[in-house]
Amino acid sequence: MTTQLPPGMHLETVDDKIMTLNVGPQHPGSGHMRLIIKVDGDYIVSCDPDPGYVHRGEEKMAEYRNYIQNIPHLERPVIHDSSNILYPYCLGVEELLGIEVPERAKYIRVIAAELNRCIYILYWLAIYGIFLGHSTMFMWPAGDRELFIDLLEAMSGARVTHAYLVPGGVRNDLPSNFEERCLRQVEYFEKRLKEYEAIFYQNPLLKARTEGSGILSRTDAIRLGTTGSVLRASGVDFDVRKKEPYDVYENLDFQTIVMKEGDSYARSRVPYLEMFESCRIIRDALKKMPKSGSVRTKLKPNPKGGNDEVYRRVESGRGAIGYYIVSNNRPEPYRVKISVGSFRNLICMPYLLKGEKLGNMPAVYWGLNYWPVEADR
């Protein structure tokens, strides 16, 4: 008997040799998502990612709130990278409303974004370490994260959900001794980072598990539209901070980290090396920043955007984040679409896990720098 199934539904055929495993959504090894994995013995035959367990409808919520009310909830998808996910929203709203940002605020925003990038990468590195059975690599980054969390707490007043970037600048000025304190923490942090190299990146166990596994070629990285560290680990020199510099990134001195191997090892190493560049950016920004001046352009109460649309993007810890904002002469946006790096990198998961050993799944999965909550929005 054949039945007509509605679109979006399908029947599965059963094979005696192939076993279907659900990795997640409760299993900590997958984050808040499910991977439907089919295995033949020890090898993965196919992988079907099933995200959506933490879908909160951020885009729908944004249509019901005005431009200022949207700030705190839009950072919720990645609370430990909150400055970077708010950054393109602020840039977009500024373009829609025609607001100029003071020079000092631009530098402060860059510093906040780079501190947040380090916080995110350290958090990711801690999880990556523990899932490869390296518990020191869980403890160290989780502890060193506190250095920058303290700095951002001094800047914004909140430890994790800062809501520090606002359309028109930043919420408040830096505390009085910030520059000196920041330089001291960054210097100590760089010293700590160098210790990661010997204990983690030169560790033969890590190399054995990650080198040569989950190889993504340059052509495929481009074809699949990947972004962020996944793209740069496959040899594509693309960083939004360099290619389409926003705020003051063009004045600052830093490099793009590119590796050619395209395997899990390269994907885990690119974010690590980027933290050194972030430290360089923070130092340079502190040096070039105007020492005084306004940090926020006041908006009109309940501002209305024109009949216009805007697409702005920035580079976050997980790749490019783009905001597409449509406005129709109302205080609320008509439509907000958030295109995030995690969602764009999701597509290479079935591609990379095919043919991999099941035990190596966490090494490939977490190497993708994937954050389920951000992908679902």
């Binding site: 509605p6 679109p7 979006g8 539904m9 399908h10 099933d50 995200p51 959506g52 879908h55 409808g57 885009e59 729908k60 919520m61 019901y64 829609l96 409303l97 025609g98 481009i222 074809r223 699949l224 539209g225 793209l231 594509v236 693309f238 290619k243 389409e244 006041k298 009109k300 109460p301 309940n302 501002p303 209305k304 955007g305 024109g306 216009d308 649309e309 697409y311 993007r313 490019a320 783009g322 597409y324 449509v326 008509y334 439509r335 679409k337 295109s339 969602f343 764009r344 999701l346 597509i347 679902d376």
Partner: protein, 221 residues
């Protein structure tokens, strides 16, 4: 005993303060329009709601790209705007695959950054908009090419079986695969020729209308 009475007195004091505060805020909330205007003027805030419109020069490089595509397709496309780093083109859904192939092969855009749906219930249409970028061409690093099309919208949607459908661009830009799946479940736009048009984020047993349509309201708002 004495400590107990002290506590009682303290509690009373704080409650009185609270009631005072609430009265004050109530007064400031019930400010008349004239008072509010005066209040904002004293603070130096401008109340005029209009966005300043500054005419910007049309950039040369972006103009050359837009000219290329409009000379090839003529009436089939409409160039909506050409701004610094941003071009937007609207086409009919019958032509979208040809236009996308031209963008990929001649203009050298190689991946999709995002695929968004925008619901326009007033004109009974849903807009599907592809934001395309390039990794391979050095000159296009800053550029985003927005390719839009409009599909008819039905008041009582039946996703997958009604006229809300458009050809999929998955064979042209492989990277749109998951983005189109998201657009299908959130707006009910069926992409013809997509190999795997299943739901992605919504639960399997979702039985309501596509949630990002404007007639799907959030409760309590």
């Amino acid at each position: 005993m004495s400590s107990g009475t002290e506590k009682d007195i303290e509690v009373k004091d704080t409650t009185e303060e609270h009631s005072d505060n609430s009265e004050n805020t109530a007064k400031s909330d019930s400010m008349s329009k004239g008072e509010a205007k005066k209040f904002y003027e004293e603070k130096g805030l401008d109340l005029s709601p209009d966005v300043p419109v500054k005419p910007k020069p049309v950039p040369i490089f972006e103009k050359s790209l837009a000219d290329k595509i409009s000379s090839k397709f003529g009436d089939k496309i409409r160039v909506d705007y050409v701004r610094a780093d941003r071009i937007r083109v609207t086409t009919k859904r019958e032509d979208i695959v040809d236009v996308a192939k031209f963008i990929r092969d001649e203009l050298k855009y190689d991946h999709a950054e995002s695929v968004s749906g925008v619901d326009y219930p007033d004109s009974s249409e849903i807009e599907v908009i592809y934001h395309l970028g390039s990794y391979t061409d050095e000159k296009l690093g800053r550029q985003i090419f927005a390719l839009a099309t409009r599909v008819p919208r039905e008041d009582i949607p039946n996703p997958g079986s009604d006229t809300t459908r458009t050809p999929s661009l998955r064979d042209v830009f492989y990277s749109v695969e998951f983005h189109e799946r998201e657009c299908f479940e959130m707006f009910g736009v069926y992409f013809e020729g997509h190999p795997d048009m299943r739901r992605l984020l919504l639960p399997e047993d979702w039985a309501d209308i596509p949630p990002f349509r404007k007639d799907f309201k959030i409760k309590g708002r």
